[in-house]
């Protein structure tokens, strides 16, 4: 009898220890809203969501929020002649690119913050770092639109003549889910943070909705 109890107890303990599915946090401000569901008013949470956008990529193709429909993506802000942190960011983003090169569930999006980065400049840059626009979009657009989008991803972008290259920006990578919510922010110049990003991407890909 005692043995049975011990076995039962062990089973219960082990059951309760069963690892919960890992989920990433949802970042940004949230709001409680009242929505009508099946004729009843219920409270729902409204998360910080990336709004619609319209930019143009290295192949002169329009890139909008629809491009990323049903996908998760990693995004950052850079410019091709940036002498400070960008090459390191690109070195690290290339790690993400190489790892998920053949995985259609994920895309990369880099916004240029320089007015000089025209489509041909972006195309030449893409060629030099040997990337395909099927996976990684380098986009340009109206400067104010880019700056507004940066705020949405919690990235700082300003024009500053005293900075090397003429622009000041933070080197963060943001991980965005299928519902266009921010699920992680990483220092794009730090290989350890990018290790974490690679782990988080796998968690996000395996999350049940």
């Amino acid at each position: 009898m005692r043995t049975y109890r011990i076995i039962l107890l062990t089973v219960i303990i082990l059951w309760s220890c069963k690892e919960k599915e890992k989920r990433l946090p949802i970042l940004g401000e949230r709001q409680a809203i009242q929505v009508e569901k099946d004729g009843k008013v219920v409270t729902d949470t409204l998360y910080h969501t990336i709004p619609a956008f319209r930019f143009i990529n290295q192949d002169s193709v329009e890139v909008t929020e629809k491009t990323f429909e049903g996908k998760i993506y990693v995004t950052d802000f850079f410019f091709t002649t940036c002498p400070s942190i960008c090459p390191k960011m690109k070195q690290q983003m290339l790690r993400v690119y190489e790892k998920y090169k053949n995985d259609d569930r994920i895309l990369l999006l880099s916004h240029s913050i320089s007015r000089e980065d025209s489509v041909p400049v972006l195309r030449a840059y893409a060629k030099k770092i040997n990337i395909s626009s099927k996976k990684w979009h380098l986009v340009t657009g109206k400067w104010n639109d880019i700056e507004q989008m940066a705020k949405m991803y919690f990235v700082t972008v300003t024009e500053d003549k005293n900075e090397p290259g003429g622009y000041l920006h933070s080197g963060h990578f943001a991980l965005i889910d299928k519902q266009r919510r921010i699920r992680g922010i990483y220092e794009g110049t730090n290989p350890k943070e990018v290790d974490k990003l690679l782990e988080d991407i796998d968690i996000l890909l395996n999350e049940t909705p």
Binding site: P87, K88, L94, K127, I129, N130, G165
Partner: protein
């Protein structure tokens, strides 16, 4: 003339002090070169001098450095545009100038690069560097 023993005993001590100071000087310049590299060069040429894809040429085991050590100082100070061929690959991406660096700082960075990352190019003297910098175009 015979010197008293106590005076003779001072010589080895002086010798070692000299050695110590020499070492300190050597490591200090090496260390400054390393620090300056991290500050001004590593963000593009990377910590181990590996460069970036076909965009930024490597400094590690770079044949170009062995062939053109006298051009390094000018490129550090004034940057570079146009094509450059390193280890069989052609690169064409502008490098910005670093006008804020002094001759001494450029000397230390140059020697740090020439003797690290697998490069075994003979170091340049300060006189050579100042001469290199006078002939930049």
């Amino acid at each position: 003339m015979r010197l008293p023993k106590s005076v003779l005993a001072v010589f080895p001590v002086l010798f070692f002090i000299g050695l110590l100071l020499g070492n300190l000087f050597f490591f200090k310049t090496q260390e400054q070169g390393q620090k300056l590299y991290a500050q001004h060069c590593a963000s593009c040429h990377m910590e181990k001098g590996e460069g970036l894809a076909n965009l930024i040429p490597p400094l590690a085991e770079a044949d170009w450095l062995a062939q053109n050590p006298e051009k390094v100082a000018c490129i550090i100070r004034y940057g570079q545009t146009g094509e450059v061929r390193v280890n069989g690959k052609t690169y064409n991406h502008p490098m910005p100038a670093n006008l804020q660096l002094s001759d001494t700082e450029i000397h230390n960075i140059t020697n740090f690069i020439l003797s690290n990352f697998g490069n075994k190019v003979s170091k340049r003297t300060f006189e050579q560097i100042t001469k290199d910098l006078r002939t930049c175009h």
